[in-house]
């Protein structure tokens, strides 16, 4: 009994002492806060010599391993262009939808090019900054060709495979709720697992962004047994994301994306960029490729940042066609992702 009393007393005394000590140290953090924000991400990346870019890793066409074990795809090419513009190496991290924001916030990656939908809550609540759109998408549904579903309204009572932590998961619920239909979600962590379950017949429907579905379909054993329904039920602007507040780093990410779009407008390609940099008479091209003006230095990059960025994967159109365009298994149409001057939504601010 006696020793129990001693322990209790010791705890009380200890707690009081701990409280006293803590109340003295409690006011200190203010000073360390300023130190923590001092070096921007761009400086960190340059001194590290490597850009850490977060991608999906399991989505054919956008980011997946090729037969020689390299990560390739549409999103990966934007990572490469960004790294090339800064003039550093690139390290690619494959992240699940669930991990991605935590990975970004904790500094595991510097930027996400991971078919991430720009939404208000993510922008204002999660401490993230979106820097434009590299793919205008919408949510679609994939079903078996010989099944009972011919259009989206036939789906009442269906079982749906979906990837967790996505806007898709929420849109799905909204769509069925607003149409007074019922569904049974089977939620997986990782797009590849959702695809495997759909292929095994666990679900009638597989849903994600239409571009993602095209990629998923190309990875199925018999892609021709499956169709993607024409209905698109949501807006999914996918774009690069960085942590909130580091504007200098945000500018770099945003303008690398923009410059790839402008390059397509101006007809600057992977092969002719060197030559254009030397000979173009277009003042905007001259500013962009660093012949005139100080945009490179203003971004904190070298003068020829754009000349370095474009050869890595070409302009926006080249990146699109090589990874997900008509000649690839995904066979995606430019659609909304055509330049504004050709009826699409791609519209980069002028380089001026």
């Amino acid at each position: 009994m006696k020793s129990n009393v001693m322990i209790v007393v010791a705890f009380i005394v200890g707690a009081v002492l701990a409280y006293l000590v803590l109340s003295f140290t409690g006011s200190e953090p203010a000073t360390t806060q300023e130190e923590a924000t001092a070096p921007g991400l761009l400086e960190t990346i340059v001194s590290r010599g490597e850009l850490k870019c977060g991608v999906s890793g399991t989505l054919p066409g956008f980011a997946s391993l090729n037969s020689s074990g390299e990560m390739v795809g549409f999103d990966v090419d934007f990572c490469k262009a960004t790294a090339a513009a800064i003039g550093v190496g690139l390290s690619i991290e494959a992240l699940t939808a669930k991990e991605r924001f935590t990975a970004l916030q904790s500094g595991r990656v510097d930027v996400l090019y991971r078919n991430t939908t720009w939404t208000m809550s993510r922008d204002v609540k999660l401490g993230l900054d979106f820097h434009g759109v590299n793919y205008y998408d919408g949510q679609g549904f994939m079903v078996r060709k010989d099944g009972k579903i011919k259009n989206a309204k036939d789906m009442d009572g269906a079982t749906v495979c979906v990837d967790t932590g996505t806007t898709t998961e929420l849109n799905l619920a909204d769509y069925f709720r607003s149409n007074g239909m019922k569904y049974k979600p089977v939620v997986f962590e990782g797009a590849d697992k959702a695809r495997a379950a759909y292929e095994a017949g666990r679900c009638d429907v597989h849903t994600t962004d239409a571009s993602g579905l095209a990629g998923q379909r190309s990875a199925l054993k018999n892609p021709n047994d499956h169709i993607i329904l024409p209905e698109i039920i949501s807006k999914e602007p996918l774009g690069p994301v960085t942590v909130h507040g580091d504007n200098k780093w945000g500018d770099v990410v945003r303008w690398v994306l923009n410059v790839l779009v402008v390059a397509e407008e101006k007809g600057i390609t992977q092969s002719n960029v060197e030559q254009m940099a030397g000979s173009s008479k277009d003042p905007e091209v001259q500013r962009m490729l660093g012949k005139t003006g100080t945009f490179g230095a203003d971004l904190g990059l070298s003068k020829d940042w754009a000349v370095k960025a474009i050869p890595s994967g070409g302009n926006y159109g080249e990146i699109f066609e090589r990874n997900i365009g008509k000649s690839t298994p995904l066979k995606l149409d430019r659609g909304l992702n055509q330049l504004w001057s050709k009826g699409g939504l791609l519209y980069a601010p002028p380089i001026r």
Partner: protein, 462 residues
């Protein structure tokens, strides 16, 4: 217990030499170090969160979840009848506890006095049943939809974890007991089969087995239209296993009550039989009369008041089977792999427990004329239980914690749901902390229950 007291220390050195004082100083120092560590961690996290402009706190739990969950159990709401019922149960347990303390002080046990046993029965079952009868109508449950809050979604996950863990623990214990005993069987084939099973299952990671059960088995199952049917009772396809579910009719409560009453009667009959045997050595029949009473009472109530339960069969409507009892592939895969895996470990615990009982006990039982089954049931297993309970507890804990692997195959358990919440609400630390608290609560409850059982089974030294 305490070291001999000395005179009051005169100097600091004397204080340091005093073992009591030294122990205090150590404790306080360690406590300070732990407190400081926790404080630094907390402040650092808070600062980082503030810096990144993210929201923190637990207010998100009230926000609308707006994502769907495939596997839903009704979440009871803590109000009205449920509170009454919980109070009745807790009060009953507390009174029984007091009663047992009181009996212990008098050098006796509750079991020694039939009147006290009746009191315990009334406290533990009678009173809660009466409460259920009077205010059962006010018990309300939420059926989760997307419009409910994150908090309700988490509760759904918690109930799914609870469901698979509870059923898993029971099944794994039964299978493990069977395997452990067969491994010691004198039949060569049975012993070797059991050994092979144990060695294979125990040495393959659970996650691999889970994927095997889920993906490999699921792929071979047919679409709903071509379901496998077992006499139209069980229906199996790649959407799950469908069994008929009993739908209670008007007199279902009466039926259940009569069965409960009969079981109580059987319990007291067993007491009587045992006491009689202890006193006189005469063995009264127990098994046959019990079964006969159960059949007779339930049959009589059935005949007089009509069928208490109507079976509802699942039918194919649209894409899937509707109605009946539905076991989803995720739940079934989870349950099967948890059971098979944990049973292999429990089998080894059972074997070690049985082998820990000295051979002399078995030989003594045989020389007294007990048959093989009797020896096992009356002599070996009760003694083996004492050795088995502590490691069994840790297997139950493992099973419960392993149920978190459900997230890998899309089973809507607590880690899966809180993962979704993390991503949709954007708050990572709070949901993870909450998940840890949930598992800690589960584990500590299991430990507490098993420790109580252990204390009860322990050799009573006189």
């Amino acid at each position: 217990m305490t070291p001999p007291r000395r005179d009051q220390p005169q100097s600091l050195i004397a204080l340091w030499r005093n073992p009591v004082a030294r122990a205090w100083i150590y404790q306080i120092a360690i406590l300070l170090a732990v407190g400081l560590g926790a404080h630094t961690l907390f402040q650092n996290t808070r600062r980082n969160l503030e810096e990144k402009d993210t929201v923190s706190g637990f207010a998100y739990l009230a926000n609308e979840a707006s994502f769907g969950i495939g596997e839903i159990l009704p979440v009871p709401v803590l109000e009205g009848g449920l509170i009454h019922l919980l109070i009745a149960i807790v009060a009953g347990l507390f009174l029984v506890f007091l009663l047992s303390r009181w009996q212990k002080r008098r050098g006796s046990t509750i079991g020694a006095d039939t009147r006290l046993v009746i009191v315990v029965f009334i406290l533990l079952f009678g009173v809660p049943l009466a409460v259920l009868f009077y205010s059962g109508d006010t018990i309300r449950a939420i059926h989760y939809t997307e419009a409910n809050s994150y908090g309700v979604a988490l509760m759904v996950g918690l109930l799914n974890t609870f469901k698979v863990s509870l059923i898993g623990c029971v099944l794994a214990t039964l299978l493990g007991l069977f395997l452990g005993i067969s491994r010691l069987s004198s039949n060569w084939l049975v012993a070797k089969l059991s050994e092979t099973y144990i060695e294979i299952v125990r040495n393959i990671p659970l996650l691999v087995q889970l994927f095997f059960v889920y993906i490999a088995v699921l792929r071979t199952l047919p679409q709903p239209e071509n379901s496998l049917r077992f006499f139209d009772v069980a229906i199996l396809n790649n959407r799950g296993l469908y069994l008929p579910s009993p739908i209670p009719q008007d007199f279902a409560n009466l039926f259940m009550l009569s069965i409960a009453a009969t079981l109580t009667g059987i319990y007291f009959w067993r007491r009587h039989v045992k006491q009689r045997q202890d006193r006189t050595g005469e063995q009264l029949p127990f098994f046959l009369p019990s079964v006969a009473a159960l059949v007779a009472v339930s049959g009589l109530v059935w005949l007089i008041f009509g069928t208490p339960f109507q079976l509802e069969y699942a039918e194919l409507r649209g894409f899937n089977f509707v109605g009946g009892l539905e076991l989803s592939p995720e739940f079934t895969a989870m349950l099967i792999s948890l059971t098979l895996y944990t049973a292999a470990f429990i089998a080894e615990i059972v074997r070690s427990g049985i082998q820990a009982v000295s051979k002399g006990q078995r030989e003594a039982a045989q020389s007294l004329g007990l048959r093989g089954g009797q020896t096992l049931r009356l002599i070996v297993l009760p003694q083996a239980m004492r050795v088995m309970i502590p490691p069994l507890t840790s297997q139950f804990l493992n099973l419960t914690k392993n149920s978190s692997l459900g997230t890998a195959i899309g089973f809507a358990e607590v880690v899966n749901i809180s993962g979704t919440i993390i991503n949709q609400s954007g708050q990572a630390i709070e949901p993870i902390a909450l998940t840890m608290v949930i598992y800690l609560t589960f584990s500590l409850s299991i430990s507490m229950l098993m420790n109580w059982y252990n204390a009860k089974m322990r050799l009573v030294e006189r």
